[in-house]
Assembly symmetry: C2
Homo-oligomer: 427 residues x 2
């Protein structure tokens, strides 16, 4: 089993105008689809965040893997360590991670696992140590948003034209709007928990939305809140006190491990992060300071499944909880997340997913089904998901037409609010 060819296809997927701490989702989100073809014609696939930087890096790296044994993850790591510099592995200050090397590693590693699974007749979760849960639970991911479904319609709103559920096209910039959004997501997907992305509007509105969710869904509904580290210590403490009674965890209210530790100590509620402890290099100081109680892994940002399993082992050893982060993604990423979670005994929190916000799919058979908020592990070998070549080509054409280079939520927001500036501290 050797790698004979690696195909990389950039795609653009319609993305609704979701608000976050650094601006607004553009009408399209960019993804990269990798297909690794073995010498005997088996194809392994993966999906990572797109953009010119990731695509260029992935294409450059792919050139090294002709004849590579897909089982040889140590060689994969060594090659990428040699191909990229430390400068290619910097996270940046955005809510999403920008480590080029980790993204490339993830694209190749996950596709290799899919390939190995198909070659050996095993599901990826079985290759990762065994299935501890056949159904993986997800949290409903709530966003403040402007009206519209994204894509070619931009900020417009035209349920008939998109065919996308009207409830998800609606504006949500108030507590009532968020509650309505939550009702719609739960109605469609059955999510057993909810997360609200904050840092976008006045904290009074955001905390008000959390209180409204608690009031609407009661104490049995786990609620999370994540303002992506743009709050001051003062705001974080005041808001945390109001939400303390019902928060499952408090995700990145402030920036940096020391500040996170301070909030956690002051409030005595579980702190979570995908911004202050986001790599193995961050872990010693995280442990020393106890900067968070729950780490959100993400196989796209940590370099694939194997690093995420190592992170899981670390979390077990040091008594940290483990959850999972998401960005706008399609079904290949969703299934990769599902396999990883299915094979991680101590991944006990419902996973984040943007999936309900996407209206297109490249997976053969269309949108992945959720049952009571859970995704069932497929029976087929590998990731258990195949590409629909027609849809892949269509979303590639959409990429070429969209003309986007990199994700830039700040620029997108300025189209509507020219005065907007992303800042490390906003409220």
């Amino acid at each position: 089993l050797q790698i004979a060819d690696i195909r990389i296809t950039p795609i653009a997927i319609s993305d609704p105008p979701l608000l976050n701490s650094v601006g607004l989702h553009a009408p399209y989100a960019l993804r990269l689809i990798t297909e690794i073809v073995s010498d005997d014609g088996i194809v392994g696939i993966s999906e990572i965040p797109g953009g010119v930087k990731n695509e260029t890096g992935l294409r450059q790296a792919a050139a090294f893997f002709d004849g590579h044994d897909p089982f040889d993850f140590n060689r994969l790591t060594a090659i990428l360590d040699g191909a990229f510099t430390a400068a290619d592995d910097k996270r940046g200050t955005n809510p999403w991670d920008q480590r080029l090397k980790k993204h490339v590693m993830s694209a190749l590693e996950v596709a290799c696992y899919d390939l190995i699974g198909k070659a050996t007749g095993k599901r990826v979760a079985e290759l990762l140590g065994g299935v501890v849960r056949e159904r993986v639970p997800y949290a409903g991911y709530l966003f403040f948003k402007y009206a519209g479904a994204g894509g070619a319609l931009g900020f417009g709103m035209d349920a008939d034209a998109t065919g996308w559920p009207a409830a998800r096209q609606r504006e949500a910039v108030t507590p009532e709007g968020i509650v309505a959004q939550a009702e719609a997501l739960i109605d469609a997907y059955g999510f057993p928990s909810l997360k609200l992305k904050g840092g976008a509007l006045d904290p009074e509105i955001e905390v008000g939305a959390m209180e409204a969710l608690h009031k609407r869904f009661g104490p049995k509904m786990p609620l999370r809140f994540d303002p992506n580290a743009v709050w001051t210590m003062e705001t974080a403490l005041a808001a945390g006190k109001r939400m303390k009674g019902f928060l499952e965890y408090y995700e990145d209210p402030v920036r940096g491990q020391a500040a996170m530790a301070e909030v956690g100590k002051a409030l005595g509620i579980p702190m979570a992060t995908n911004m202050c402890t986001t790599s193995f290099d961050d872990l010693p100081e995280s442990i020393r300071l106890h900067s968070e109680d729950v780490i959100l892994s993400d196989h796209h940002f940590w370099g694939g499944f194997r690093p995420c399993l190592a992170l899981a082992a670390l979390c077990r050893v040091f008594g940290r909880g483990l959850s999972m982060h998401s960005n706008s993604h399609l079904g290949v990423s969703l299934m990769a997340m599902t396999h990883l979670a299915a094979a991680t005994p101590n991944l006990t929190y419902d996973l984040d997913t943007h999936y309900p916000w996407q209206s297109e799919e490249i997976a053969a058979g269309g949108a992945i089904r959720f049952d009571e908020g859970h995704v069932r592990l497929p029976d087929a070998p590998g990731l258990g998901v195949e590409l629909d070549p027609v849809q892949l080509a269509s979303l590639h054409r959409q990429y070429l037409m969209a003309g986007l280079q990199e994700r830039d939520d700040e620029t997108e927001m300025r189209k509507l609010h020219p005065e907007f500036r992303a800042a490390l501290v906003r409220y």
Copy 2:
């Protein structure tokens, strides 16, 4: 690929009268050979320390694995977590680990990997992440010892009868004896580094032996010393000062993480352990105290390959070195150690091995060859070693005749020195 049968064979192997902190090696060391047979007739093998406790536990556990998928390591772990109690997972104070659950897990996990390797045509190191070194270096393991080859000859010495090298039958209870032993081992195996097991004789003799080794082999020969934690702080500090200039690492001079940290801080030399930090539960305090710089893994004691790889990840994250511990063992354990080391990028120290002290072998083809102190990874799938059924049966008969229940170096020593008592602190 399902488990159809598990065969467990206790064996006794001739073991020479090696001295350590708790006494003397008995004429036989006990090992357990596990053969896992799949539904399509493939056999995966492993070797762990023997004794009635391990054999009983392993047989009890084996009953749970009829029809088990050898890939499902999470289920393996869950079953063993359910089958054994915390009391079955206590290390004890001896130099060797006595965790029943970990031994059982290791026996089953390693045999499953061998099975998977044979079923998929991959070498075990390839299944563990990929081969980073085709040749794995070992250290020459020196012991104070009484004359003799062990086995049926007991403490006697009869080179002609045993066919075992006369140089290894000789007594070694002085610095000169240890130097001669080192010369013999290096001559036969080409070891690139040396380790002396201490804690057995007066520290003056032991430190003298280390100084003599340094004088004989010069500054380019890495030297390690390990008195198995029976030294006082005073002895450890005084001896450490004398050896500071040439020690590669100082292994367990004193007992417990706090004392180890104190010695390391006082001397400023690399500290190593397989006694104070020996499980994941020990790691948080180890990190907090910096109780050692190098952790000696051992797949028999940590529950198999996967835990050792998780330990390796932890060592990388927290800047700890990684080496490997050994007990009296045959070729199946040697090859398992070799595969694990071959797949662990940050296992950068030469591995410990008792292998030169064994005169029998169950591996088909006889004794594993060392080349310049290195063992080459075999080309065959799985561990690359097969059992010799005639030798296995012969060493099983030897087990039945030897009548030993458990390793008990203290009792063995009392046969020669009735006044001997094993103690937590000796010198």
